[in-house]
């Protein structure tokens, strides 16, 4: 059912994305691009040592990619680099395997419906690919391809 994909939280975050603004004092930036649909995303992180103090993003995409970026930036705050990368793996697992959702995902479990829509997995992971690049401090724009 389509409502399993577009759960209430996803619709809410796609219409009113949180942390949706540029960040002047960010010390990590990365750009993501999904060549399939042309969606572009800029991610900003303010790192305090190893800890993500603040996260925000810019860019307009589909409901799935916008909500994913919004919920991701919310869930990153206060996490260490290692915890953030671990979360990324769990999120990817949620989208691509049948294993039960990890509890660590919190609100991010709303994306569980995406696994039934393989063509949309890239929409949900764009922000996360970009996160990886920001945490690795790579300056090349990442793509979902």
């Amino acid at each position: 059912m389509i409502d399993d994909l577009y759960q209430e939280t996803i619709l809410d975050h796609s219409k009113r994305p949180r942390n949706h603004h540029p960040m002047d004092d960010a010390n990590r930036r990365a750009e993501g691009y999904n060549p399939l649909c042309g969606d572009k995303l800029k991610l900003y992180l303010k790192m305090d040592g190893d800890i993500v103090q603040d996260a925000s993003f810019e860019g307009a995409g589909c409901a799935i990619s916008t909500a994913s970026a919004s919920l991701m930036t919310e869930s990153l705050k206060g996490k260490t680099r290692e915890e953030a990368l671990k979360l990324l793996d769990k999120f990817h697992e949620l989208l691509t395997t049948d294993t039960p959702a990890s509890r660590d995902l919190g609100k991010l479990v709303v994306f569980c419906g995406v696994r039934d829509y393989p063509a949309r997995v890239k929409c949900a992971t764009l922000a996360w690919h970009t996160l990886k690049s920001a945490l690795n401090n790579s300056s090349d724009p990442v793509t979902t391809e």
Binding site: M1, L5, Y6, C37, G38, G61, C62
Partner: protein
């Protein structure tokens, strides 16, 4: 719909036509399939499927080689498609018909073979703002290699090329005009004949990308006076991996081969190779024989329906579709050319095309969402993507109504 009943009364029975397409008889997510992605690829009639099956079951052999019966049969069937393609395009001679993998390869063949030989530093190639990536990138690569310049004909808000601007781009350095006959992203029908004439006056050659035109309008390369014309089999109800490049004989004769290998040679020694005559000079290696035979069956099928009937019926679908889609609040049609094929690209306020595509798919409706391999077109309209419904002669008014209902469901899901 009085307009539609008029098309039906002229002998176009869409329900009967639909019976020829097995793929249409299925449900997707429990709903009847509504296939509106014809600009990406068209569905195949039984006649095409049967021709390919017959080749594999009964006639399979390599062509142009064996003296045995099967080889002769397969050669005859494959070469018959060359003759059918010559008639389909109204070329002068079958030696002007080159088999390629598709439109993309047709363009690459010309850019590579003709382009490398004839384009010099400072020369100019003209394309248009409407082009598919396949009619941009090969020319860009050529221009980069030859230090030539790529010029682009701009378009207006309707998605029509501005001919006054095109006129200004033409000059003594213009070597080639490469332009689509019909835009895949917007459906604009370009005034190909007039544009070719203008290019010829400036002493330039012309290549027409006919990928979107071949399934929908009658093509006459002599009336157009096109120097090169290319189209894909799979968009004209044939299989993928086969297409046609037409070129004027004297141009093809003067061009060097595109790829080396078997079939394109006359004699080979380690010192020197002499090349085969036209069109085989451009056809290295064992081709897509089954595809070529399938394409022949597809052209027969289209001819049987009659392109005049097809064009008229599809125009009625376009008029009806444009009307009912325009009535949906928040929907904006992108590409409103006065001369237009049955393609409706649109955006909806506050809803991304990918989300529209997914919700429609759940209702059995297949549309294309994205940039349609025409990113410059999207940039021009300041949009990342559109949703595109593209029609074929087997689509119906009822299917357009299903699309409209589907779009209201989209609005419901996103509360827009």
């Amino acid at each position: 719909m009085s307009a539609l009943s008029s098309a039906i009364s002229r002998g176009f029975d869409v329900e009967k036509v639909r019976e020829d397409f097995p793929v249409l008889r299925q449900k997707i997510h429990g709903k009847p399939l509504v296939y509106l992605d014809n600009a990406a690829t068209a569905q195949k009639p039984v006649a095409v499927i049967d021709a390919i099956r017959k080749f594999h079951e009964v006639d399979c052999a390599n062509i142009h080689r064996g003296v045995h019966e099967l080889s002769q049969r397969s050669t005859a069937a494959y070469e018959e498609t060359r003759v059918k393609s010559k008639r389909f395009l109204n070329a002068r001679s079958k030696s002007e018909i080159v088999f390629v993998r598709g439109t993309t390869e047709g363009i690459n063949l010309v850019a590579s073979s003709w382009g490398r030989k004839n384009v010099k530093p400072g020369d100019e190639i003209i394309i248009s703002a409407l082009e598919h990536h396949s009619n941009i990138v090969p020319w860009q690569m050529l221009c980069e290699e030859k230090e030539a310049k790529l010029r682009v004909i701009p378009m207006n808000d309707r998605g029509e090329l501005i001919l006054e601007e095109y006129e200004k781009l033409l000059g003594p350095r213009t070597r080639m005009l490469a332009v689509g006959h019909i835009s895949n992203a917007l459906g604009t029908i370009n005034p190909a004949r007039q544009m070719i004439e203008m290019a010829h006056r400036a002493g330039a050659l012309t290549l027409i990308d006919g990928a979107q035109a071949a399934p929908h309008v009658k093509i006459d390369v002599q009336a157009l006076d096109a120097d090169f014309y290319t189209f894909s089999g799979h968009k004209v109800f044939g299989p993928t991996g086969i297409g046609i490049l037409y070129g004027k004989k004297k141009l093809l004769e003067a061009m060097p081969p595109y790829q080396g290998g078997g079939d394109m040679i006359r004699t080979v020694t380690f010192e020197k190779t002499t090349y085969n005559e036209l069109p085989y000079k451009f056809e290295a290696g064992t081709p897509n024989i089954a595809g070529g035979i399938g394409l022949g069956a597809a052209l027969d099928y289209v001819n049987k329906l009659g392109l005049d009937h097809i064009t008229a019926y599809e125009h009625e679908l376009l008029v009806y579709g444009t009307k009912v889609l325009s009535e949906i609040p928040g929907l904006r049609i992108i590409g409103t050319a006065r001369e237009k094929a049955a393609v409706i690209s649109f955006v909806m306020e506050g809803i991304h095309p990918h989300d529209i595509g997914t919700v429609l798919d759940q209702q059995g409706i297949a549309v294309r969402t994205g940039h349609h391999c025409a990113q410059p077109v999207m940039d021009w309209f300041h949009i990342p993507a559109t949703t595109r419904a593209s029609f074929a002669f087997y689509n119906t008014v009822a299917e357009i109504d299903a699309l409209v209902a589907g779009l209201y469901r989209v609005k419901e899901v996103f509360d827009a």
